[in-house]
Symmetry: C2
Subunit: 471 residues, 2 copies
């Protein structure tokens, strides 16, 4: 329970209507996109501007009350579950596009804006903001920044981090800092901008962002390549890059995913394939034609069993449906879907998929794998039932072993979803005890009283682990 003097002060800051502690508001902000996690906050606050955020933070600092800032809560790492109670700060009212600067190719936005609304606006002006997390229709730019969201275009265009060049943020003590600017180069001190991107709400409340925009590609082409041999598909991925082609999209689905997707979307996919690659290239028309032709040759060389190159935009949309419906199709199978995020160097994708299959067999759980082959970012996805505690335990053991395998293969526990609550016990596996110590020091520097999204990134205890091989 919060001190009534604090709740009164919060009501004064944002207005009666924008502070809520009724049961409906508390329950609605007790969970996020991650299955099986819930924790009630004590109150929910909806600030209208940076000055209010600053005032709120001053009040919370005074009363030592934790705060979880969130957009739409579409994250998959338990990143916005208020595990230590306190206040949830919802950023949706701060949703204005403050400026699109056509001369500098930048946009300045409040962070509560929905990603897809922002990209649509930018595209209407003939510009392009490449990060495209699957959640973009509901996620906010602030959420994308907090998690450093990726997406299907990461291989060629990079992730959210590569487009954030300036920030306004409110510190734990209520002070406002501004980092970077409309600047393509700025080395004035430590790069606080990039440090705040991906900091998962644990270092500051990000209120405004300056985003870099780029010219849109003038054409695009889409193809599917299907393989009976998993290694053939994996070699194709590596060979495309080795041949110095960087496709805009290079996505992978394994056999279990193909079966489920075909059953769901009735695409007539051949069910005996071990892997399907979805490949897109964009750019100038000649480049696109040439690259797609060379990619087709590589697929043929690697003995693809079927290659479909889209003849037109409609055809392309149909091919894209296969990959786009993967999560939805899997989610239909069983009551609970757990989507993970192990990432390896792209040369190790086939090894990783086989390891995932072996681990799933070992623990007798259903795991289908799809994801961003081009950047080695795989989404092994378990379909299970949260009510079956015994099976859930096996799923958790399987994922633990999957993270371990990813690290053994030179990879990481999370490529684009973040650490949050779910991966916190495994973070030390990736960065070591000395790395944890440094990160704790950074956290301490920004947030000495541990009020900003406490319980995230830093786990109370690290899972034990035996094998370490950085090969």
């Amino acid at each position: 329970m919060l001190d009534t003097k604090l709740t009164q002060r919060l009501r004064q800051i944002v207005g009666e209507k924008f502070y809520r502690d009724d049961q409906e508001a508390l329950v609605a902000h007790s969970y996020d996109g991650t299955p099986m996690l819930q924790s009630l906050p004590d109150g929910v606050v909806y600030p209208a501007n940076t000055a209010q955020v600053s005032e709120i933070m001053k009040a919370l600092a005074e009363y030592r009350v934790p705060v979880v800032s969130r957009g739409s809560g579409s994250n998959l790492c338990g990143g916005t579950v208020p595990v230590e109670g306190g206040i949830v700060m919802v950023m949706h009212r701060m949703n204005r596009i403050l400026e699109v600067d056509m001369e500098n190719l930048t946009a300045t936005v409040q962070t509560g804006i929905i990603t897809a609304e922002f990209t649509a606006h930018v595209e209407s002006l003939g510009l392009f903001y490449p990060p495209d997390p699957s959640s973009m229709k509901i996620s906010t730019i602030g959420g994308n920044i907090a998690e450093c969201s990726g997406g299907l275009r990461g291989l060629k265009y990079g992730t959210t981090k590569d487009y954030v060049i300036g920030l306004e943020a409110v510190l734990a003590n209520g002070e406002i800092i501004r980092t970077g600017g409309k600047l393509m180069k700025d080395v004035a001190g430590y790069d606080l901008t990039k440090l705040l991107v991906g900091s998962e709400g644990t270092l500051a409340i990000i209120t405004e962002a300056i985003l870099k925009l780029v010219p849109p590609p003038s054409s695009k082409k889409t193809m599917l390549a299907m393989f009976k041999d998993l290694y053939g598909a994996a070699r194709t991925v590596s060979r495309i890059i080795e041949m110095k082609i960087i496709p805009a999209t290079l996505e992978f689905m394994d056999n279990p995913t193909i079966r489920v997707v075909d059953d769901f979307a009735k695409l007539g996919l051949p069910l005996d394939m071990e892997a399907i690659l979805l490949i897109e290239q964009d750019g100038d028309p000649e480049t696109v034609e040439r690259d797609i032709e060379r990619i087709r040759e590589i697929c043929e060389f690697e003995k693809a069993d079927r290659i479909d190159v889209a003849e037109n935009r409609e055809h392309a949309e149909k091919l894209l449906t296969a990959r786009r419906s993967a999560f939805t199709a899997l989610a239909r199978l069983k009551p609970t879907t757990i989507l993970e995020d192990a990432t390896v160097p792209r040369s190790r994708i086939a090894d990783m998929v086989l390891r995932i299959n072996d681990i799933a067999k070992k623990y007798d759980v259903s795991i289908a794998t799809f994801g961003h082959a081009g950047d080695g970012n795989l989404h092994p996805t378990a379909t299970t039932d949260a009510r079956d505690h015994e099976e859930i335990h096996r799923v958790e053991q399987a994922f633990e072993e999957i993270f371990e395998a990813a690290i053994e293969l030179g990879g990481t526990i999370t490529g684009e979803h973040g650490v949050g609550l779910v991966k916190a016990p495994f973070l030390e596996w990736k960065i070591g005890a000395a790395g944890m110590e440094v990160m704790r020091g950074i956290k301490q520097a920004f947030d000495p009283n541990n009020l900003l999204n406490p319980g995230k990134i830093f786990a109370k205890e690290t899972r034990k682990r035996v094998v370490i091989d950085r090969g």
Copy 2:
């Protein structure tokens, strides 16, 4: 003077030959590429590997002796001057390319390797490492990482930061951390990789780096456009970007630079021009042809007085000579050349150049300006004489006002050279008192005893400043 027990221990770690405290070694490491700064270290150590760096750091931590790690010391911010004495750690022996991974398009290197040697090796394998600081023939990759070096290709390809995806570093206490990996995506905790890039040797000793490589462009074209009207040149820069062309190079020289360069290199440049733009585009041949043609049209529209498009590689080299010889030509004029690094949003370039000219006139000093117009990174360069204390004082006043102007125009005090010693008193102008506090906290987390490159980034006092306008 160092404790002889410490110097004995350092000799044991690296071998007799690789610890020096003779006068020649001390003087040779008392200065760097920055004019008028010198401070003797107490000893110079040349480690052979990471284990030795770790042992050295443990010893220095025990004796509380500061350390400045350096490559070739070509920086222009006093970044490697050992202002508090102690040890200079020279990284040149750690100069191996450990691996070029053709499947993952990465290179793993020790940080003491010379940048140009590394890029030549990479190019011999048909790959491309874009960062091209002017110092690259002598600078090291480690130095580039410490300063987040830019170069002529920054606009299209980004800077060093955009290519560093993993690091090995030794902390102040001698512990070794590894960040990132051969991974295009990794959000496992705070982004220590990007934080260490540009940290100027103040957070850790960087011993190894994993660098991202890209496919090289298949063709390239070079042109010069000359303008009697400064604003015509500036509008051309903005319009090229607005027309959604991102050139590989988009460089600027003002009239004083043109005069000096022509006198030096005998290029027959028209001396009545207010500005010359050097423009290069690379990529697929069709794209390059189309972009260069469109850029020529924009130059004509903005009333360029002369446009030279290189017919062949030799011709291109001749055009490039104009920009490449700017610094050398200016350095001939007077005994002391001070090259600065103010950066503004690219839309403010003309305003900034005019402000620089006014400021130079006000303080009666000679300042020529050239630089990277495409990313707003200008190098106002004063030609003066270190022995003329009165003039040097005026030069310093002029630069102080130039930094202030850059910030007023929404820019920064340094785009690619770093803060070091020279810009430290001005850093607070850019990031504010709260930003300074956060940066001090980060420094404290990494280096509680302030042994890593002390005196850099954080000044004992900040220069007073009246006007602040973030417009």
